[in-house]
Amino acid sequence: MKSERVRSFESKAVSWIRNNLERFNPLRRNTFDAIMGDLKAMCELLFLCSLKKESNPSGLPRDYRMIVESLYNNVFCKPAYQELIIRRPDTILHMLAYISFRACGYEHAWYRQRLERVLATGYPLQIERLPHRNMDLSLMIEKGGFDIPFPSPESFFEQTLLARHPNIYYLNEADVYAITHTIFYYTDFKQRGNMLPSSDHHYLKKALPSLLAFYIRQGNWDLVGELLICLIILDISSDVFISELYDLGWNCFLGAQDAEGWIRGPQFLPEEYARITAAEDKAEYAFAKNYHTTIVGLIAVAMCDLSDLILNSEGRRT
């Protein structure tokens, strides 16, 4: 799926992100809680950039590079931001931001030391989390090269919902997110080179297409995007019975892009959006409701590139 349409989607979406880059800056907020609440958007964007770098042998494309550079200088290097990890060591978002910057070539020795000291207290590792969140943390410890004992991502797999092969008729949205995220972190977006156990793979070959069709029909583009990513990760997007649905999923997903560049998120209400008159309020609403789904779409594009890259390098090896 590397059509002109996909490239056009990517270009419009990245351009929207660049036009709204200040909204990804948590320090624009004027209360501590609001700053913490806004961390997620920046971290997800940084993660996208790190994945984009992995998927591009020639390095981070210019637009992405400018995003990372801006967030590094205007957020990450600010003392106010660097203090957050001490104040709120419970969230793994600090790790995600650091690891993503590092993957994009931005190291910060002093912040790393601070991060290591916080990790050494043990507290961030001891908190109760969902199994897939622990997988994520484990992955980041591994990728960051932190010398602290923590179980491997795979060791959390048995505790996940996915490992229990739940009846898909009963899954709610949170359950489906738990499944997609388990696939993301278990495989590190295909970068770990590991495979899910065959019984889980078999389960997912049945479950994922049905769930994809379900959310296409429902118009939940966030989950459609995440499920498309899972099909790419598991290398089943070109299977006989799946490829047509995979293409339909992409077409519908791309069709949900607004002229401004964002993809409609599940919380976005067109009537509410239409009622907002002030341009700034309108832009803020569109950002808050749609940034995540737009990033999911760009991750899916990066995954297509990464998948091709892996396939080509494997082809060369053989």
């Binding site: 898909i168 008729y169 049945k206 049905s210 069709a213 296409i216 029909r217 019975f241 649905l245 519908c252």
Partner: protein, 296 residues
């Protein structure tokens, strides 16, 4: 042990205990649903003899057709003809005069209401199945029309999953008509078989959303298209069985009815408007699935 026969038996018992005492005062369409339900479930229950059932059905349908002749819809006609066809299965009921009456009523309804071609085709088909001499040439023409309409409306959709409930019901009706209730394979140009995969996804969607009124026709459509081996089919059947209530009726509506009762005066009749049609549809689907009774 297959749980379906006993589920249908319980549905039949519910019709006899809950609906029979009220049927005289029921709306015409409810009388027809009741008749269809009894004609389907009678093979599974021993509470009444086939002759008794036959008489109940015949009298109910005859009353509706005679009294409501000018107000009947094509859907009513189809319900009545389906009931007659199932009633014939018992072999003890003479329905010739009633079918003749229905044939005249069908002609009138078609002239007056100009129903869609699929409904016309189904009514003609059911008349034929009830022993009336078919006008084959006419039907052949209608079949061609249905095929081209199906191709234009459904088979070439950009997103086959983007289909409203009403459109999906119409699609199922096309499947009933073009497969002649599962007895005929459909020509390749209809594109029907290409839609099976999407029909499976839609069955999953509506089973997950607990839309029992859509799951029933979707199950029948899958069966008639020969897709009963798929897992969506067995899961939907399981869901249908799980949605049977203690009294034998089908449908999980109690929470909604309770909430409606808090919010406003609910004008719906819980049996006639809600449980009766769904219980009959569910019984029809389940009975067809196990193949003990079929239209043919």
């Amino acid at each position: 042990m297959n749980p379906i026969p006993s589920a249908i038996e319980r549905a039949g018992d519910w019709l006899l205990s809950e609906c029979s005492p009220k049927v005289d005062k029921a709306k015409p369409t409810s009388k027809l649903y009741y008749s269809l339900g009894l004609s389907i479930t009678s093979s599974f229950t021993s509470r009444v003899t086939p002759t008794e059932v036959g008489q109940i059905i015949l009298s109910n349908i005859a009353v509706v057709v005679e009294r409501e002749r000018d107000r009947l819809s094509i859907r009513d006609i189809i319900l009545a003809l389906l009931a007659c066809r199932y009633a014939r299965n018992s072999g003890t009921i003479k329905i010739g005069p009633l079918v003749q009456l229905l044939q005249a009523a069908t002609k009138l309804v078609i002239e007056k209401t100009k129903p869609d071609p699929c409904d016309v085709y189904l009514s003609q088909l059911l008349l034929e199945m009830n022993g009336r001499v078919p006008r084959r040439e006419e039907m052949l023409g209608s079949r061609q029309q249905l095929l081209s309409e199906l191709a234009a409306t459904f088979s070439q959709r950009k997103n086959p999953l983007d289909i409203s409930k009403d459109e999906l019901l119409i699609f199922c009706k096309y499947v009933f008509a073009l497969t002649e209730f599962g007895t005929k394979s459909t020509p390749t140009q209809s594109g029907l078989h290409n839609t099976v995969q999407y029909l499976r996804y839609l069955t999953f969607y509506h089973t997950k959303n607990r839309d029992i009124d859509l799951v029933c026709p979707l199950l029948l459509a899958l069966k008639y298209l020969g897709a009963e081996g798929c897992w969506e089919y067995s899961s939907a059947t399981e869901y249908l069985l799980n949605s049977q209530n203690q009294d034998g009726s089908f449908g999980l509506y109690e929470i909604e009815l309770y909430l409606d009762s808090l919010a406003k005066d609910d004008v719906r009749n819980r049996i006639e408007d809600i449980y009766l049609p769904v219980t009959v549809l569910a019984s029809w689907s389940l009975a067809t699935l196990i193949g003990k009774v079929n239209v043919i």
